[in-house]
Symmetry: C2
Subunit: 256 residues, 2 copies
């Protein structure tokens, strides 16, 4: 009889998997009987990331990944508890790939860097936008990322809470821009037409169907956008504009 009853581990199984490489990761029980695993968790996660990069998150099926290694689909479940856990591992692992640039002196440049860094990453791995719907998971690489982001807003005169909220606003904004870029690309893929072609093809129908409805401002603004961008929107400029306003607001708040 042990004094410590081995209560079923209440903690989340994904946690140990996320931190499997770090020092504190509890070493496996000594006995390692049974066949050796043919691949590693890292390889599986990397393959899943590559697949998501190339064909989108929907293409990341258990069967498809297993096939890449010549394994049966069910074999993956001896590496990873389920698909959702795999997505979390993908998110943390891909986060670890990006280097974290040195932070500039200038406060404005620091905040810009946080947003642009997020934006670049989400453009390279748009599926992260869909994974984040699950949870902002506590992996080692995400923790490191968060620490870096906090460092960017440290010393500006913000309270601890405000530091967190400022990072959230910047990262969230960058995510929204990335999302609208993703939607645009997806729309072009689904319809098989560019945005301009879509408007061309639907111009008559829109006029017909909207006859009798009046949206004066929307019309004026839409026309202006169309002329300026040759499209309904231009995410790159939206990024610059919104980011400037947000940073203005933050810096004004701390009195700079």
């Amino acid at each position: 009889m042990s004094d410590v009853p081995d209560q079923p581990d209440q903690s989340d199984p994904s946690l140990r998997l996320l931190w499997r490489h770090r020092a504190g990761a509890r070493e496996e029980p000594k006995t390692k009987r049974g066949p050796k695993q043919k691949v590693s968790v890292d390889e599986i996660v990397d393959a899943a990331i590559d697949l998501a990069d190339a064909e989108g998150l929907a293409a990341v099926t258990m069967r498809a990944i297993a096939q890449r290694f010549g394994l049966g689909a069910m074999t993956l479940y001896s590496y990873v508890p389920n698909r959702d856990a795999l997505l979390v591992l993908m998110a943390d692992q891909v986060t670890g790939r990006a280097e974290l640039p040195e932070l500039p002196e200038d406060p404005r440049k620091r905040l810009e860097l946080v947003a642009n860094h997020t934006h670049d990453e989400l453009r390279a791995h748009p599926w992260l936008l869909e994974v984040q719907d699950v949870r902002p998971w506590l992996g080692p690489n995400m923790s490191e990322r968060y620490e870096w982001q906090l460092r960017a807003v440290d010393g500006l005169g913000l309270s601890d809470l405000e530091m967190d909220q400022t990072v959230a606003v910047l990262v969230g904004f960058a995510g929204n821009i990335a999302r609208s870029e993703l939607m645009k690309r997806r729309a072009e893929q689904v319809t098989g037409m560019t945005e301009a072609e879509w408007w061309e093809a639907n111009y008559d129908t829109l006029n017909e169907v909207m006859a009798g409805s009046h949206y004066p401002l929307a019309n004026r603004v839409g026309t202006a956008a169309g002329e300026a961008y040759q499209a309904a929107s231009d995410p790159a400029r939206e990024l610059d504009y919104g980011l400037a306003r947000i940073i203005d607001g933050v810096l004004a708040h701390v009195g700079r």
Copy 2:
């Protein structure tokens, strides 16, 4: 032989469906043979909205909706071309339910209203966050909403493009807050624990697994958040903070 070859309608079929109630909607061909339809598109969309409100978007299956009317699943396809089109109709129709409050005089209050209005709606219908991944569709109610949002930023001294971008920043920010609230609720539902309980249950594991890793700022900020909120985050306060900064930035930009 007609001079006008009846080219297959190149325009998006969802468009006519979206605008089916408006004046310009092309009247159906006179001949209406065949059985009368037992329900209406509006009823179907309303039922789908109710289902999504009650049980989430994943519960909105063609079979589930059909069952509500005692119909066979395939019957829905004589009302709506496919599920994605139904989601678009849901989004526009639910947008039409919300009233658009009168806009205050004070510029700051106007911008706040746009963000808070979006936030309230997304809290009432969180599934809108998932539908928006498809496309910002051009329905009548969405158009009206957009017109109202533009009215809120009109007359401030912004250019046409800036008006659009300002609305996008405000609405996007409100959406991010709503999303983090949704994630929080989902996490509690999936794990069966409150956020506080989750941290309690995983405290030991986290300490063990993160031993050797150091995130000084994240730790400090996390502790501050935990003490202030009794949780890792408090979306309501994030809304106030971020909104204030964004509006500060916009108003400074137009010199107020």
